[in-house]
Amino acid sequence: MTALFRKLLRDLLRMRGQAVTIAIVVACGIGSFVTLRSAYRSLLGARDTYYESSRFGDVFAQAKRAPESVAARIEAVPGVAVVETRLVEPVMIPIEGLAEPATGRLVTLPANGNPRLNAPYIRKGRMVEPGRPDEALILETFATAHHLEPGAKVPVVINGVLRQIHVVGVALSPEYVIAVSGAQGFAPDHLRFAVLWMDRDVVAAAFDLKGSFDDVSVRLQPGARSAEVRDRIDAILKPYGGYGAVDRSRQPSSFFVDSELLQLESYATIAPAIFLGVAAFLVNVVLSRLVHLQRPQIATLKALGYNDREIAVHYLSIVLVVVAAGSLLGVALGAWLGRGMLGLYQRYYHFPRFDYRLDADVVGVGVSVSVVAAMLGGLTVVWRAVRLPAAEAMKPDAPPTYRRSLLERMGITRLLGGSALMVLREMTRRPLRTLLSCTGIAFGVAVVVVGFYTRGALDVIVDLQFEQAQREDLTVSFVRPVDGRVSRELAQLPGVLRVESERVVPVRVRKGPRFRETTITGLSRDADLRRIVEWPRRIVEVPEEGVLLSAALARVLDVGVGDSVVVEVLEGDRRSREVRVAALANEMFGLGVYMSLPSLQGLLGGAPAVSVALLTVDARSEPQLDARLKRLPVVAGVARRREIIAQFERQSAESMNVTSVILTIFGCVIAVAVVYNNARIALSMRGRDLASLRVLGFTRQEISSVLLGELGAHVALALVPGMYLGKLLASTMMSATDQETYRMPAVVTPDVYALAVGVTIAAAVASAFVVRRQLDHLDLVGVLKARE
């Protein structure tokens, strides 16, 4: 081992506190990169493997009813490789344990049981046998939620007829990797959404669709243009009530998976960039101090004949060792967190194989980017070291120049004590250092804000949705639309304080090729329990004529007020009408559509009816009422507001807690690292002054107030910009998330700010405590004897 290498090790040992904090920041940078990137690659890998092996379609189209012969015409479209037709029908599953029946899809399987596209993957049990009228495969998420095993019997309403279906297998599907219907809901609801696969002939008989199909999936030839194929398919299906073909990217489950991937990708850039930026800053600060302290040593090395390259390598090696340690830790951390993240994903994304993969290039890129960042931080410093003329550096430094600051000249400082004056002078003497240090701390605050932001934003959503918009205690849904009398009868029940009613109709809203499945809610204009609330918080009146769309749906359909959309009713006689968009509301949830009750009646035709009653009740009688209502034959289900809120919070808390805990830890790491390193450097730069003060008879208390005062000032200056930066980061990251299910309001609640500030101050106090202890043990003789 060369003597210079020994020096390197001893220098590192001497500044271990700083080296360790920088290594940890680097570790967080690489760690976040490896976590998110490996999760990204794993998800991508699972997706691509599954989509390929299950022959997931590239283009999907629906029609009202098309003769089977049309399939050959689609197959003839240039670019089309494989065509699979089938029937996809809505079903209801009035299963035990649910207030409202679960809804779902009935998907047909060809007679051979092996569809050419979108093949279900059987996890348990067996394939449906052709011709058996009562056999079905069932989606795994629903089966798990209801503890259904092969062999179970499930009640299913197929085209208005209740049948007992025999579950023969539990399956996954590339179309339902995440179990969403594409309609409402902020997250997949495994309890209430089901998919059943049954023999095509059986289903065709039940819906009277023999020799026809209403759903077609297409696999494209390599290099085929999806848009052109879709246009041709649309033209072919138009006479048969085609709904417009969509690309795989708009297929609901695929869309969810892809937007998760997109989000991971953007997080995988933002988070490491912040950490590596902070790491570069710390490397710069710490190394510049080291080089400054070692000026005489550098000059000596040069005088002894060490050349520029050897000296540069020596100082850069210090950085390299720290980065190497950080990388090792970061990769380990990343692999661990990445695996954990995948575990979390496994609950949401259902692939037959979900293997964790940590690719060498991910590690390679993470490590090299960190090395580059740290080197960038160290390069200017090392350059300065190398440029140091051997002869001149032999002389000790000239005393630093202090100037009377502007504040001082204004006389403000006369109001301050002596130590405050020293703090002020130090900060104004190195404005860039002060700025960078405050920026570092501000990033710490910002990361913690981002960590807690979602939680605060969810509180806002809960407030909007459940305090402002849905204000009823019990939601009673009827088995079929009923007339207004039923509401009045409900009002007579003991404990019921108020009753309102509304009409909810499943629809498909379409504008050209764009469409979404959702529901229209018909509200009476004096409705008070169910209101339309947008963000920033405002109650929106339902328009007399026309529809009100949630802003998110308007964006999806690319329509504005005054445009018209086609509303296709998905029940009854399935009529479709063109309706004018009368208003928009920036709702936080889902893709809602609202109409006034009379104009919805007009659209639907027939006698006025309602499908849901909203009740406020006396809290004491709520349980009895709940039970009593459920026994009424006209009532399909009763939902209690409190349970809905609890479920919402449970579902969202689950995924968000992990993220916010990790981000909070990361934020603390940044804050501690920046504050601690600043403190150490201040101590090293001012140790001599402070020791002199001690010798002159100043107390420990007094000298620490000088040093810690400066730290305190940095932290104080960083808080407000940090909060702002946090808000900025939070909304940037939010805009990368899926906007269709729910939207986070770009608001950071005061308690989030308070938490972030509290966490940062705690981190600062902890590092101040460490430095204070070092200050207390200041070796007076040693410090004064040293040449510097």
Partner: protein
């Protein structure tokens, strides 16, 4: 002492130098290792020019011991730095054997220092995080045919303190480590800028003793800057500077051993 004998033999043997004593006889009319003509050095300090050297002609001969005297600010350190390749003159010529140093690139100067020059500074300039042995090793790591650090330290009488850090050594001991470090590469030139400046009389004497012995036994050309005129009595030649010029150069007929010096 056995070690010293070994060192001495290894020194002569390794590089096949001529016997020191025979070479010593050649001083005066001898071979100039360093040769400078018309050296000037001007430091630009903002608006004013500080002229440190105003035309210096000087040579150092192989194996001799030279003392540089002069008032503070007379340009001694500036001259020594230029001769040692730490700095370049504003004008004039410096040659080491056949190499021109005055117009050399930084890399050439670095190689020159690395291969031929050993420095001893007033403030020792040891690396505080390295032990005595490691400080010497710093040089032997990059030298071509060095003396083992242990042997170099024995030569300056610090065999017992090899694993001590600078902070655990007295000023005189630190300066001896610095000397061991300067000579371990078997330099052709040993340049010392006030090596006793920070030391008391007794310690200073020990350090000078070591320098004189190294000069005798290794045959390295040695130049020592000092403020103490009496020290000049141990030199072969005494160069006196004032105001950036050489005022006088004289040969010292009655050379004293350091032990006999008084100041």
């Amino acid at each position: 002492m056995v070690v010293e004998e070994k060192v001495r033999r290894s020194l002569r043997g390794a590089q096949g130098r001529p016997d020191v004593t025979t070479e010593r006889a050649a001083i005066g009319g001898g071979e100039a290792v360093l040769f400078a003509r018309g050296l000037t050095k001007v430091y630009r300090m903002g608006e004013v020019d500080v002229v440190a050297l105003r035309g210096i002609d000087v040579e150092l001969f192989r194996g001799e011991f030279v003392v540089l005297l002069g008032a503070s600010g007379s340009g001694k350190s500036t001259l020594l730095n230029i001769l040692g390749g730490l700095d370049v003159p504003t004008s004039g010529e410096v040659r080491y054997c056949d190499h021109d140093l005055s117009a050399a690139a930084e890399s050439t100067l670095t190689r020159y220092r690395r291969e031929h020059v050993g420095f001893v500074f007033q403030f020792y300039n040891l690396i505080p995080s390295l032990t005595a042995r490691e400080n010497v090793a710093l040089v032997t790591d990059i030298a071509e045919a060095p003396i083992a650090p242990e042997d170099a330290l024995s030569l300056v009488g610090l065999a017992e303190r090899m694993d001590h850090f600078p902070s655990e050594l007295s000023g005189g001991e630190q300066q001896r480590v610095a000397i061991a470090r300067a000579i371990a590469k078997r330099p052709d030139l040993v340049l010392c800028d006030e090596p006793t400046g920070a030391l008391d009389y007794r310690t200073g004497q020990i350090v000078l003793e070591v320098l004189s012995r190294v000069n005798r036994e290794l045959g390295a050309t040695t130049a020592v800057i000092t403020h103490n005129a009496p020290i000049a009595q141990m030199a072969d030649r005494i160069i006196e500077m004032s105001d950036g010029r050489i005022r006088s150069v004289r040969e010292n007929a009655a050379k004293l051993s350091p032990a006999d010096l008084r100041w």
